[in-house]
Amino acid sequence: MCRQTRVRLIFAVFVTLLGLAFGGTVLAAEPITIEYWHINSPTFGGPAVKELVQVFEAKHPGIKVAEKFQPGVYTGLMQQLQVSLAAKRPPAVAQIGYNLTAYAAGQFPHVILDKYKTSDPDFFKGIPDNIMTLGVLGGHLHGIPFGVSTPVMFYNPDLFKAAGLNPDQPPQTWDELQRQGAVITQKTGKLAVYLQQPNDEWIDQTLIWGNGGRPLSEDGKHVGWDSPQAIEAMQMWQDMVNKTKIAANLTWEEGLQAFLSGHIAMCLTTIGRQDHMRRNASGFQVRAVPVPRFGSKPLATATGGNVLMIFASDPAQEKAAWEWIKFLLSPEGATIWTKGTGYLPPRAELATDPRYLKPFFDEAPMMKAALLTFPYAKPWVSFPGSRGLEITKILIKAREEILEGKRPAEPILKEASQQASALLPK
C-alpha cells in the first residue's frame, strides 16, 4: 500500500468516525418520548391533558409526551395496563385510581418513588400529608396523588321551583332528601335523585363511610359491606328506587344524560364532572352542594381520583417521567388541571392564590361544594391482594341486585361480604 493510499485510508476512517460521533450526538439530542395513560375523555378533562402536554413540551424541548386516553375509567385503564405489561411495553406514567392502587402496587413492576423524597425535597413541599398518604402503601411511596375529587350533589334548581320547593335550600340530610324528593316526584312527575352507578363502588363506599361504617375492617381481613351501617345505607337506596320510587336505577350514561336533560332533579357524582355539567345542562343552571349527611352523623365521603405511577424501566424514560409528574403537580400544571376538570388541586394553597386558582374558585361556585367536603374526605378503599379486582366486582353486583329490589339488602350484602372477604389475603 503506497503512502498516499494509507493517508487517504486514515483520512476516510477519521471522517467516518467523526460522522459517527456527530451522528451519535444528533441521536442523543433527539427528544425522548414518554407515554402517558389517562382516563380523561373529551368530556372529562381531555382538553386539559392536551393543554398540559403542550405547555410541558414547550418548557422541556428534550421530552415529548404521547398522551393516550384509555376508555372504561380506571378499571379499563388497568386492563390495558396489565396487557401492556405482559407485552413488556407499558406506558412511562399512568393514572391509577385510588381504588386500584393496592392491586397495582402489589402486582405490577413499577418504580418506588421514595428516593425522590431525598433528591427532590422541594417538590413535596405544599402537598398535605393526608393527601400524600393516598400514594403510600406498606410504608413506601408508590404513586403521587394527582386527581383529588369528592362526590357532590348536583341539582336542577328549576325542578325544585316547579315542585314549590326553595332551590336555595336543597336537602342536607338523607331524610330531607327523601321528603323533598317525594314532593318533586309527586308535583313534577320527574324522578328526584340518581346516585351514580358506573363500573365501580365509589358512591357505595361514600354511603358506608357517611353512615359511620367502614368499607374494609382495620385489620384488612373483612369486607365491611355487611355491617349494620352499610346494610342500612344500601337498604335506604333500595327503598328510594323500589318503594318510594323517587330514585332512578339507570346505567351510568343513562343517569347522567337524564339529569342533564332535566328528567332527574339531583345527581350524586364526582366534582370532576363540574365543567361537563356546567356546559351540558340543557335549559337550566346546574348547582352543587355537599352530599347529604345521615342524620346528625358527620359528613364522610370516599376520596376519588388517582395517583401517578411510573412503569418505565429505562432510566432515561424514568427521568423524563418524573419531570412530567413534577410539571403536572407544579402550580402551573395543577392550575390547568383543576380548571379543566374540577379535580381539587393536591397543593391546597393554590385555591386561595390569586396568581393561580383563586379567580377560578371565585367564578365556579360549584367548586365550593367540593371544598366544603374536602376536610371530611375518607380513603376510597382499595382491596389488597391478587383478587382485589374480583372483590370490587362482587360488591358492584351486590348493588345491582339490591337495586333490582327482589330481595332486601341484608341477605345480599351478607352473602357478598362473605364471598368477598374469602378473597382477601389471610
Binding site: 378499571t75 386492563q79 396489565q82 396487557v83 405489561l85 405482559a86 402486582q107 405490577f108 413492576p109 324522578l191 352507578q197 363500573n199 332512578a248 336505577n249 339507570l250 346505567t251 350514561e253 343513562e254 344524560q257 337524564a258 336533560s261 328528567h263 391478587s386 383478587r387 379486582l389 374480583e390 366486582k393 358492584i396 353486583k397 351486590a398 345491582e400 341486585e401 337495586l403 333490582e404
Partner: protein, 297 residues
Amino acid sequence: MIASRRRRAAAAGYLYLAPAAALTLVFVYWPLVASTALSFYDWNLVSPTWTAVGWENYRELVHTRAFWLALVNTGRAAAALTVLTVLVPLLLAVAVLRVKGWWRNVYRVVLFSPTVISMAIACAVWLWMFHPLHGVINTLLRYGGVEGPRWLSSGSSAIWAIILVTVWKTFGFNFVIYIAGLLAIPAEMYEAARVDGASERQVFRHITLPLLAPTTLFVFLTTFILSPQNLFVPTQILTQGGPNEASNNLGYLVYQLGFEYFRVGYASAAATLIFLVLLALSAAQFYFAERRVHYGR
C-alpha cells in the same frame, strides 16, 4: 415420467397450500393448544411464575353461578338468533325477489345497511334509543299506552336488548346470502314445476327449500357458532354483562375472567369448555342437517 410429473404437481399443490396452512397452524391451532395448556395454571399475565393447579380452574368454574347464567344466556341468545336471523331473512329474501325492478334494490340496500355500520357506533346509538326515560323506543311505547322496561338496567330485559341489537346487526348478512342462494336455483326447475301445475306453496316447499338447503345449513351453522362472538360488542358497550350477570354470556365471561380479573388460566378453562360445547353442537348439527341437504348434483 407420468408418476414424477404427478408427484411434482402434488408437491406444487402442497406448496400453494403452505402459506394458508402455516397461518392457520400459528394463529388458530397453536393458540388452541396453548390456551388449553394454560387452563391448568394460575397466572395473571404479568407474574413471572405460573402455578400449576390441575383441574382446579374447571372445578371452580362449574361451581360458579356466573358460568351457568352465562351458559343459559348464550343458549337463549343462540336459539333466538337462530330463529330470527335464519328464518326471517329467508322469508324476506323470497319476498324481496318477488318485487320487480327498482324497488327490489331499494329493499336490498335498506335491509343490508345495518351490516355495514360499525357495531360500536350502532351500539352507541342503541344506547340512547333504549333510554328508559327519553329514548325513542319507550317514548313510542308510551304513545301506545305501554310503559316500556328499563331495557339495560333491568335483569329481565337486558339480555333481550342485547339480542335485539345483535339480530338487527347480523340479519342483513344472512339475507344477502339467501338472495345469492335463491338466485343460484336454476329457473328451469321453477318453469318445469309450474308447467306440471304446482302451486306457489308447493314450489316453495318442493323446489326452493330443498335446493336452498346448503345455504340454510351454512347460515344456520355460522349464526350459531358466531353468536357468542357477535354478542360480545353489544354486551361490552351496553351492559358489561350486568345487572348482576343478567346479560352475561360465555364469550363475555371469558373476557371478564381474563381481562377484568386477570385470571388468565381460569379464563382459558372457560374458553376450553366453550370450545368443546360448540364443537359437539356443531358436529351434531352438521351430522343431522347434512342428511337433509341436497347439493343439487
